[in-house]
Symmetry: C2
Subunit: 183 residues, 2 copies
DNA sequence: TCAGGGTTTGACCGATCGGACAGTTTTCCG
DNA sequence: CGGAAAACTGTCCGATCGGTCAAACCCTGA
């Protein structure tokens, strides 16, 4: 029961919260749940963070930042090189921030309507446009949307699926979205 | 304000609830939200249904039934015909019960852990096995999982994506999962 | 040793959740 | 018409939500 005061509690909270948010959703996870997973009291969470939303924001910050970096890199590329870069950049992003992306897209569209994440929505649209070669064809957009939708289940460790298999599946999935045949 | 007693209120409730559950999740939708969308009081919902869970159960019943039918049909097929039938059956199921499937897979894994839907979890596993040709290869399972994960976003009307585009995207997505190249 | 600040806790708050219940309105039918 | 059944509402309940606060804890440095 007793927890030694002073330690890396902040990191423990963020780690536990990321797992719980990814598994049961943001709204489906209570502060008590997080506190129980960490092994501290609910009040301790609110000492380290300004609230539940602040935990979420700090949790997603690195992923959002990586999203912005990718978005800026794509904007600096010529149209012909964009799609290839979009695929590998997107796959990299998903692999690195698996849990975060699961939380972000898993609670769509509720989460993206928050002012703090409104930019992610726009960046997702731009990524979608890049994946589909900026064509507004509904068929291509549908395919790309399906790819993005599959990402929230990217936490596949419990299913016995390793990093290599997940990465190759993501690459194939994303590559299919920009396959000109069948558009 | 006043609602005329006697009417198809049950259907109105189920329709409104399916939209709200798909959009904001089961846990993210309150009885007040549903009542507000229907235009009746919260107590009226509990007059027609035994509770929030009962609304969900009745909402998902047709989709679960269709799932069971597909599962039985696949079990009666020889292994060589299973995969082709699995793809078209799965796509048909998603197209017919778009909102229901979105609710069901969108609240994964919370929802599937309920005793009432435990069978769906097993059937999903069997469908996964059918899509991947019963091979336990992690790579193939990862690809199939991504396909299933993309389904919750299948409510694409707001994105201007019609039925034909969605269907073809689903077929291509599912077909990729059983593509022997790259397994 | 002891003061002081960072850390943690239990108790508590208002709001909202799903749900229960009695009473009122509306529809149906003899 | 009039009364029974169906449909619906307002109100209340206990539990839980996110969040606050004062008191207690523990580690550190003078």
């Amino acid at each position: 029961m007793s927890r030694s005061a002073r330690s890396g509690t902040r990191e423990e909270i963020l780690d536990a919260a990321s797992w719980l948010f990814a598994a049961t959703g943001f709204k489906g996870t209570s502060l008590q749940d997080i506190a129980g997973a960490v092994g501290c009291s609910k009040a301790a969470l609110l000492y380290h963070f300004d609230g539940k939303d602040a935990i979420l924001a700090e949790l997603l910050a690195p992923a959002v930042e990586a999203f912005e970096t990718l978005d800026a890199r794509l904007a600096a590329l010529g149209d012909e090189a964009v799609r290839r870069a979009a695929v590998e950049g997107f796959v990299d992003l998903v692999m690195r921030f698996r849990r975060e992306v699961t939380v972000l897209y898993g609670d769509l569209p509720d989460l993206l309507q928050r002012p703090a994440f409104a930019g992610v929505q726009e960046m997702t649209d731009r990524l979608l446009a890049a994946l589909t070669g900026r064509s507004a064809e509904p068929a291509a957009r549908a395919a790309a949307l399906l790819v993005l939708g599959g990402v929230p289940v990217a936490c596949m460790e419990p299913c016995g699926i390793g990093d290599d298999e997940l990465r190759s599946a993501l690459v194939r999935s994303a590559a299919r979205a920009l396959d000109p045949t069948g558009a």
